[in-house]
Subunit: 308 residues, 5 copies
């Protein structure tokens, strides 16, 4: 969960250190050659880099917008997962009609709730290409573990189990047909959220746009000193570095935002959100224990992580 | 409810007084050094700050847009809470089928309505990190207070109680299965609205963008006098302050809009909206009394509050 | 319904006459002082107002967008009210199952349809702070008038009556439970539309943005003649007025669009739309009379009205 | 269906020939007067038209966006009409439960399908203010024609007939209550699509924006030669015409896109889409004949038509 | 699936080689004529191409946005197809109520699942104007092949078969009426997705916008050397080529993104997505075989394909 605390400048500058180095080398060599060879007649009106600068500005604004939209959509999807997890548990608890208050029905609901917690962790881990079975031993019973392990797509297999259990509950008379259909709709929404995450994960931002922006950016940086040499001597070097940095930064930020499930410091805090869901669901099951320490531990490091 | 009345300029200027002070010190010292040391050959073409100015303008427009969208989304969510609260009460009143006009059923509806009022106040307070149990003694019965107090997430616990009550009503034959499912959908929408508020509350605007805009803004302000010194003497000082102020203001405004649940003068008027909901629900229950004075009092100060 | 006919320029210029007067006084006095005191050394490079002009352009584009979105959303909501009113009447007509073709059932549908017409007029009037009971004597029976008059929120009270009637129809066996729930959903959509109008009505555009744009605009206008004085003598006066006017206009247009329910010439043509709904509903009830003259009269003046 | 073929330049230039003529006269007379009267001291820095040019660019971008959105929304609505027409016929075919395979039921479905085809043509024609009863003799039976002709709003009357038929089918036991409600929802979506088309048709783009953009555009064009006269003699004339044309074009394109139901070459290809729906529905009814020639003929001219 | 790997620059430059050649010829001939005829007095202030450049930048940003939106919408639609395919199979599996575990019911579900796989491949192929019956022999039984082949719109015919099968299942008592309606809704969503693809496929980006941008772009390129000739001699040639290229690229990228179903290297990876759906559905049917090699082969070439 992108925290609102200070980030060391070193971290941020580190992101563009290679580019800055290249620009510095260019600027310094430009300064030296210019002085040595006395090339004062080779210069450009500043309007030329300015025209290129306007195009780049608009494209960087376009790119920032699209990257932000991907990042924000990822956050909206995980927000919907929180909502639908709460709704699913509320529904299963208040729909179940078991006049005998049997242990079986109670166990059934408890297993269902644990499976939903598992689904959240598992989806997060599979998006990050980590082990999607990480907390399976805690949260699934042996049968479920065996069933799920046979599948390539763990979260989808968990949704299938949810579906099967709802069918079982209807057969036993715990749910009526309307309630089955209503619970199935909540599963459909969870299935949609899962697919939307995969869409964002698997669709790269059109590579050519990125390449093009780089092309235009370096064209701009290369032209810049020719426009400035008329006015300034060696002062041109830091100036070019600073102006280049201000353009390079925007691009880097967009690149970091645009892939919100890549296990990078900037991605969506899925483990933290899953732990929140676990805490909510446990509360709804009137189990007021905190989530297990290893998951919380993961969460804490998570919080340290998402600082960008 | 952001009121349409005049705001003293002092208040607005106050928001950027530190930044303005720093810029003034820089501009004045620049003026003095320049005069004293006669550095007229150190100057920049105005196009250089202008290029940086174009980038900043686009980024500030981008930031204003995102901040406005967060603020407006918060307002839309609370608008939906108003609508779904009215819908919930209309449904519970017109769905209830109690041919005997029993006191029990009447009490049931009345308790349900009060609980919905409580939910609105409680959600607003928990988003502002104030006491979510504030009006519990007025609006919940003793049993409900005890149940809810055991939970960490009060508004979610209230929704669970709603769900349980709907189940009870169906068991007693007051509602048919379709009506139960339809009421549950209204609860689902309320649950979504609650989760959306939490998403906006818990997702900070990417910190690096803020940092970057600051970096580019101060680069621009630092470059500005070098571009103007050619033309003007001491007049450069107020000019730089005014131009800087016009950029700094936009950023501040975006920062103030972007967090609509932070208990700041600019946030969403949740107490006012909750009081409106209370008044609507009371009317629908044919109780034409005004909400209690302490809540109205809160509302009035609220109105004074949201003036930005 | 914003008509596509010519608007006298005088009307449009009238909107900014005060601002234009102030700018003219400034421009003329600037011209006189400059000439008299021979202040030719006090001048600015045109790039300085140009930088401020770029920021203002972007902010005005942002503001125009948000204002247009509010105006367009208002139009979408009233479009949805048209659709849902037609749907509601189609549903009540085709769902009613009355094998005896009783007069009671026929009257019931007729009363329902009239009440929906009333709801549309009443919502429009209450948004404009006019009398929401205006056509009540025509469109509601005595009982309904008495019930509704006791409420502060007339349109919401009318929806409650709709809900109650649907319940009555189900009790009498005219509707089955699915149809009751389906009709209730149409009411929910109407309730949402009503709440959305109130949200737009009650949420002002962040005042500080408006103030800030004014600040930047006047800074720009004040700087402008200093940038032009080098080139032109007295011609600067009309030029400054024209350029200022072109910026001031955009802001005024945004201000006029942003509040679509304020009983101003530019707002949403709610009376016209309500009359269209009345005509559609009457047709569906096979009553091919035109709406009453006084409502049409209102409509005509309405059409003259919404010309901006 | 806006075809991807070449458009003669003459057509495009024709759209702005009046404006271009006016600009040419202005530019030529400017050139002559300037030469004759030797007014070389009356000139402007190019930055002045450039500032106005930036504002206009942003407003033209804003206007292009809104016009494109209206055009694209119109296309989305007609796309939804295609989808919901297919859905409606699939539903009526697969929901009908007629164990006796009676001729009556078969005729019923066939009449229903034809009426839906009629609805599509009729909606397109009424939006274009053409005869909405155009294909009624082919597609409606005599009773239906009589009923519909009595109404002012033909497509809405057809939806009423759909609703009545669904009621009849339920009474005869061909549909169960769930299926009736589900079919009614498809009707509701068609009713929404119809209302959305009418909203776009009846809401003009705020006239003042258009007027204002014209004002700013001509201010820009009038200022332009004063900025160029310093550098160029008679070459200024074609240059001003070309630059003016590039601005005038954008506005014209926006104006042409913004009204997608105006029976102009640029509007939505509603007849083509309706013919596609007819072909799809006939296929679903296992009637593999092509739509009648006169409708196809209309379609072909349609295709020639929508080339902009 | 637009892969995140390096693209040879030659490929990208190839896309604009014709335009670049034309610009080069223009720039070189300009250089030669200028030198030969000594036309130094024919020059323009750089602000003139800069004004045109600002308009073009904004229009290219507008066009990039619309093109990106079309491409992203196509991706969202295919994401929804993934989700709804999974949902459809989960529903058919968990809704089927067959207490005798008959072979017939099992076969029925298996055939249903295969048909859904077929639908995905078939939709992709028909959008690309390839053979929509490509994998029919593997995935459909003989009866289905015969039925479908008689239709012009294969994917729509497959949805009709789905609908018929659901009806059959209800008649045999395998599904209850709620479940039939719920499954039909999933079919409706698939039908919507199909229609949305067709809408994007069949609606070309307004041709006039493209023509206009070309007009403005070449006006800009033609003006550019007149603005630069003052400062530079022969260096103007590469400079003009590079600046022109940076504008031409953006347009080309937009053109390539805007048609996501055109069987070009840049379109939506529909075969890959269909193979993913096949793998998911097979897993849900507990058939852990990979999709057939020929489909995978297609997929692999697909992956090589979508690199832009």
């Amino acid at each position: 969960m992108l925290l609102n605390k200070n980030i060391p400048w070193s971290y941020i500058v580190g992101k563009i250190r290679l580019e800055i180095a290249a620009v510095s080398i260019y600027a310094i060599s430009f300064g030296i050659f210019h002085k040595l060879l006395n090339l004062h007649h080779i210069m450009l009106p500043l309007s030329v880099p300015a025209i290129v600068g306007t195009v780049i500005s608009l494209l960087l604004a376009f790119r920032s917008n699209q990257a932000y939209d991907r990042w924000w959509e990822a956050r909206i999807i995980w927000g919907a997962i929180v909502n639908d997890s709460r709704t699913l548990i509320r529904q299963i608890k208040t729909f179940m009609n078991d006049p005998e208050y049997s242990v079986t029905a109670d166990d059934f609901v408890r297993r269902f709730a644990k499976r939903q917690i598992m689904w959240c962790y598992s989806l997060g881990n599979s998006l990050r290409k980590k082990d999607p079975m990480l907390h399976a031993r805690d949260l699934l019973c042996a049968d479920e573990q065996r069933f799920v392990a046979a599948h390539g797509h763990i979260p989808n297999a968990l949704l299938s189990l949810h579906g099967k259990d709802i069918q079982v509950a209807m057969e036993r008379g715990w749910l009526n047909p309307f309630q089955q259909v209503e619970l199935d709709r909540t599963l459909t929404r969870l299935c949609d959220a899962m697919g939307k995450c995969e869409r964002i994960k698997n669709t790269v931002f059109p590579t050519t746009y990125g390449l093009y922006i780089n092309f235009a950016l370096y064209l701009f940086i290369i032209l810049l000193p020719f426009g400035l040499t008329e006015y300034l001597g060696i002062v041109v070097v830091p100036l070019i570095i600073l102006i280049s940095a201000s353009f390079l930064f925007i691009e880097k930020m967009a690149i970091h935002l645009q892939d919100p499930f890549e296990n990078k410091p900037t991605d969506t805090p899925m483990t933290t959100i899953a732990a929140t869901i676990e805490r909510n669901i446990r509360e709804m099951m009137e189990d007021f224990n905190e989530p297990k320490h290893d998951r919380l531990a993961a969460k804490v490091s998570d919080e340290e992580f998402y600082v960008l």
